[in-house]
């Protein structure tokens, strides 16, 4: 049975990964849009994103849109696989 991944098994990070996993593979979402969807503060979101980035589960890209800076976040292939494994582990607990 898979162990529950401790990087994902924290409510705030689980929700971030759930939202990003709902995108098509390769797509990324603006930090502000992700923040709106999760209804969280930017500080809190940034903290958890850093932890996910350290695990190579998300990729964070900073760009300039028009004249203002924008940050885009995407789930990496590693993150997508880890999330699939996490859901398998949850399902196994229910079996």
């Amino acid at each position: 049975m898979d162990e529950l991944d401790p990087v994902i098994h924290v409510q705030a990070r689980l929700r971030i990964v759930s939202v990003l996993d709902a995108l098509e593979p390769g797509d990324s979402l603006a930090f502000t849009r992700l923040q709106d969807l999760l209804g969280t503060t930017s500080g809190n979101l940034a903290t958890h994103l850093r932890r996910l980035e350290e695990a190579d589960y998300v990729r964070i890209a900073k760009t300039i849109e028009g004249r203002s800076p924008a940050t885009f976040v995407a789930l990496t292939e590693t993150g997508r696989l880890a999330f699939a494994g996490y859901k398998r582990a949850l399902a196994a607990l229910l079996a």
Binding site: D21, E24, D27, S28, T32, L37, F83, A84, K87, L94
Partner: protein, 216 residues
């Protein structure tokens, strides 16, 4: 953590994951109820105006130019409302989906350009007016329906599949309707969009969401 607590947590967590996925996809995708309503009203106004501008042939109820202005205004309004709404919903997202969306989005005006070129050629060659009306109605349905069905398969989108399949049905039926009455088939098509909009509100599982379940 004991086993029982684990079980309760797992069920709750899986529900949370599903809820976040559904909420994310719903908030990034256009609201099909709005799109069905806008296009339903546009088709009803546009095709009814075109009918009134072409029937009876010798003394139409509306001058043709008035009918075409009304139909054109309805079409432009529907395009602007859908484009602005879809762009707002998809804002903050980028990647391969945007590129695929731009390609499929531009396929429609390109196909209409070809449809228009062939229509011009047929009209200049002396095709009878009632056959030309059928050409325009059926041609528009063919472009929207066929491209829409391919798009529905690509995006795994049940709403787009229902919409496009209905447009193809309207096109098929319209091909057999004589004279200017073919334009009323287009107006009836608009009524079908409104019905789909009501279905999307009352029974969302029937006409919205994925065609086949997504991974996970």
């Amino acid at each position: 953590m004991d086993h029982e607590t684990h079980d309760v947590d797992a069920a709750h967590l899986l529900r949370t994951i599903d809820a976040d996925r559904e909420r994310t996809q719903a908030s990034l995708a256009p609201d099909v109820r709005l799109l069905y309503s806008v296009w339903g009203v546009a088709w009803i106004i546009g095709f009814t105006a075109a009918f009134l501008g072409s029937y009876p042939w010798d003394a139409p109820i509306l001058p043709l130019w008035v009918a075409l202005v009304i139909a054109g205004a309805a079409l432009v309004a529907a395009i602007v409302i859908s484009a602005v709404h879809s762009a707002r919903r998809g804002s903050g997202m980028r990647g391969p989906s945007n590129v695929r969306g731009a390609i499929t989005g531009n396929a429609f005006p390109l196909a209409f350009l070809v449809l228009g070129a062939l229509g011009f050629r047929l009209a200049v060659a002396g095709t009878p007016p009632d056959a030309m009306l059928a050409y325009w109605v059926v041609g528009v349905c063919l472009v929207i329906g066929a491209l829409g069905i391919v798009g529905a398969a690509m995006w795994n989108d049940r709403g787009q599949l229902a919409f496009s399949a209905w447009v193809l049905v309207v096109g098929f039926v319209a091909a057999w309707i004589p004279g200017a009455f073919v334009l009323l088939a287009g107006a009836a098509g608009g009524l079908g969009f409104l019905a789909l909009g009501i279905l999307a509100a009352a029974r969302p599982r029937l006409v919205t969401g994925p065609i086949v379940p997504r991974h996970g």
